[in-house]
Symmetry: C2
């Protein structure tokens, strides 16, 4: 009996499996079969490598799990750079809401999501959690792009893109969940209630019930701004965490996005209920929302992942920037340079992010049996030379453009920086063509500066 022949073998890399406690494997390899990781090992003699139909010499590059983006509004790439450096409410009510209401449609959501997918794939993201409207179009686009995704239909108690009648918001979400069965396993359909200030208590509870019955995540923006937390307190007498707990919304499948203005009691409540947290520091800073108490949440045992948020408030879908900022920001905020060391931050962007999305058994580490979701990061570059500590480089020096190859479920989505599932020139041309309409529309809203 000969050794097994794998579908694909990536070898001669520095393998970071991101499994807890695992050491980097020099001269490491990952073997892929049937879309899954079949073996991980190391050898510096080529003849000892297992047989495979396709072989890729990683040439000393870093080989690690694909990054997990735990919060995104993919179609909002249309609004990237349309209006910046404004107060949150002015930005939302004068630009984003009008543009969403009058200009977006399902086709534009589909194409915007392909554009977002192109950016995420080229930045090494293999799994994304998205929450928006026309989410069926998002699901189709992410499926076509080949990404792993948790797609969550947006719910608010006022007219929204694709849901002009808010009394139908839950019916639309239920239908979205029901049609999820038509998609491959790598797409999980879920629900995203925008926030406690845009959804009433009954909406929140019914939306949570929709997900509870199906065992899928329930996302919501929580305590993003100080004003939001203060207003909730005035309205309900409760802090953000206590309010959601009172409504019975806190459990291990609830993902609290932002989680900035949490009292110590709220933090303990999230830990107790095993609520997951998505940390989006670039967006939080740009909107002047605040700094989430991530070191404290981690100390309490809360599972935390990183998110880019949408390109309208970031303005990129680049988890490398989020890693760098996460590692730096909490050091200065907590006045302690030992907070959020590099290896921990890489774990948040991979293994922990997968757990936030309920995909801890599927992806997030290079472990045999999990999906073959992986990236190859080229370190043969001035800004990554010399190399002493791969985790340090990933967090403090590497950038999205250093990702050379991206695989999801055993399929290459990016090969030597070229897309395999997307036609970038055609997509770019159609996006540029349509964004002229949007620019014209927005000039009506406010005289262009």
């Amino acid at each position: 009996m000969g050794s097994p022949v794998y579908d694909c073998l990536i070898y001669n890399g520095l393998v970071l499996t991101m499994a807890p406690g695992a050491m980097p494997l020099a001269h490491g390899y990952v073997a892929v079969a049937g879309g899954k990781i079949a073996a991980v090992g190391q050898t510096d003699t080529l003849q000892d490598l297992p047989a495979a139909r396709e072989r890729l010499d990683a040439q000393g590059a870093l080989l690690l799990p694909g990054l997990v983006n735990t919060h995104c509004h993919a179609p909002m790439v249309w609004f990237r750079g349309l209006a910046d450096d404004l107060p949150l409410q002015q930005w939302l009510t004068e630009f984003i809401f009008p543009a969403e209401g009058a200009w977006l449609d399902a086709d534009k959501v589909y194409r915007g999501t392909l554009l977002a997918a192109a950016e995420m794939i080229r930045g090494g993201i293999t799994t994304v959690a998205d929450g928006y409207f026309y989410e069926a179009a998002v699901r189709q686009a992410l499926s076509d792009a080949g990404l792993r995704a948790v797609v969550a239909q947006g719910v608010v108690d006022f007219p929204a893109p694709g849901v002009p009648d808010p009394t139908r918001n839950l019916a639309v979400a239920a239908e979205f969940l029901d049609t999820g069965a038509d998609y491959p396993d790598r797409l999980t359909s879920a629900v995203f209630c925008h926030s406690p200030y845009t959804c009433g208590p009954e909406t929140l509870q019914k939306a949570k019930d929709l997900t509870r019955g199906r065992g899928v995540p329930f996302f919501l923006h929580l305590a993003e701004t100080r004003e939001e937390a203060a207003s909730l307190k005035r309205r309900t007498g409760r802090s953000p965490g206590a309010y959601l707990d009172h409504l019975g919304l806190l459990d291990e499948l609830t993902v609290a996005v932002h989680a900035v203005w949490l009292s110590p009691g709220d933090q303990e409540l999230l830990a107790l209920r095993q609520v997951k947290v998505s940390h989006c520091p670039e967006s939080n800073l740009k909107l002047a929302a605040g700094v989430a108490p991530i070191p404290a949440l981690l100390k309490l045992g809360v599972t935390v992942g990183l998110g880019t948020d949408g390109a309208a408030s970031n303005n990129n879908l680049d988890l490398w920037g989020e890693m760098s900022l996460t590692a730096r920001l909490h050091k200065v905020w907590g006045r302690d340079p030992t907070l959020m060391p590099a290896a921990q931050v890489v774990a948040l962007a991979t293994r922990e992010g997968a757990q936030v999305l309920g995909l801890g058994e599927t992806t997030g580490t290079l472990t045999p049996g999990k999906a073959a979701d992986l990236i190859v990061v080229d370190v043969n570059q001035p800004h990554l030379t010399p190399l002493y500590d791969p985790y340090s480089h990933l967090v403090y020096a590497a950038r999205a453009a250093d990702v050379r190859h991206v695989m999801v479920g055993g399929r290459w989505l990016l090969s030597d920086r070229r897309f395999t599932t997307l036609d970038w020139p055609a997509l770019a041309a159609s996006v540029r063509d349509q964004c002229r309409d949007l620019a014209a529309f927005c000039r009506q809203l406010r005289p262009h500066p």
Copy 2:
């Protein structure tokens, strides 16, 4: 009389001259002659373009002044990622000082600087201010790489690399200044006193005198950490700004680097004396030093530029990260999302940075008569599509890898991402070879984790 024939014409770009009040020029061009900018204009008909010996079609890319890095310790790329996530004093005394003292020599400084130059050129930096030891080797390397630079010999009152006898620190600096005349105009030789806590008052004053006589900048780290400011107060009874003013060190050619822990009185003093400030936010966060009061300093009229600091404390020499962080950090710190808008941040990284270094007449804007220091940034990419506001993209979405071409003084240093002055494969091989010694040396200092 025909129209003049230029040396080089870069056309079909979106030109941001960064001159105060100038609007972006669509279908813009820049003409170069004799190493200087000869003309800037716009036309969308090819036949109206001026004649030139070399023509580059920018294909809709952004064309702007090269970035100005106002603070760097280039040779410290050797120490990138060698020790992270540690308290500042432990990092300095247990790793950096021993490695600098026992391992560095002039040749390693030269090669480290070439490596740093490679990273900076590929990230669109055309001017850098460096401060280190063996600075003559830094000067030679930056000259060979083709960058514009202010190179400043380091001065401290204890044994330093290349200056084992600290009583010779000023003599070494004076000799360094004197030999600067042998170099092209694009190299300015200056002095970098490390800080008020490593240099006594007499050293500071004599070093400042060396620069004053020659009309060149005087750099020093000022008020980087809270402990430093508190200790100075205990020792001298004065705040950092007041102490330097008392010594007569504050004038328009002094560059205060970091400038984090400044009292309101210190801030006013810096403004009154026209002291320049170099802001290095990525380093300040990583070392948990603090957040410099940049919006307040700008309001007082202080000229501020951006700096990367060295790769041992950052860990990159990438001004794109500094721009993104500068725009975001002060919004959340000052609880105001309108602080540090994108266009202002691009100005800090170009025009204002040049003024910080006393090079405002030479570089920093695309103005006829100034040196042809410019970069071409490729926006035909997913993360920069669509494009409404070029300043927003440069600050919030673009990255170093988006820089396609770099010119300094009319000479291409990077052409379609390829180096013209550096042999990257040979440099990479020699750096990797020598960094093994350093890694072995550092393992003696502390058991490897």
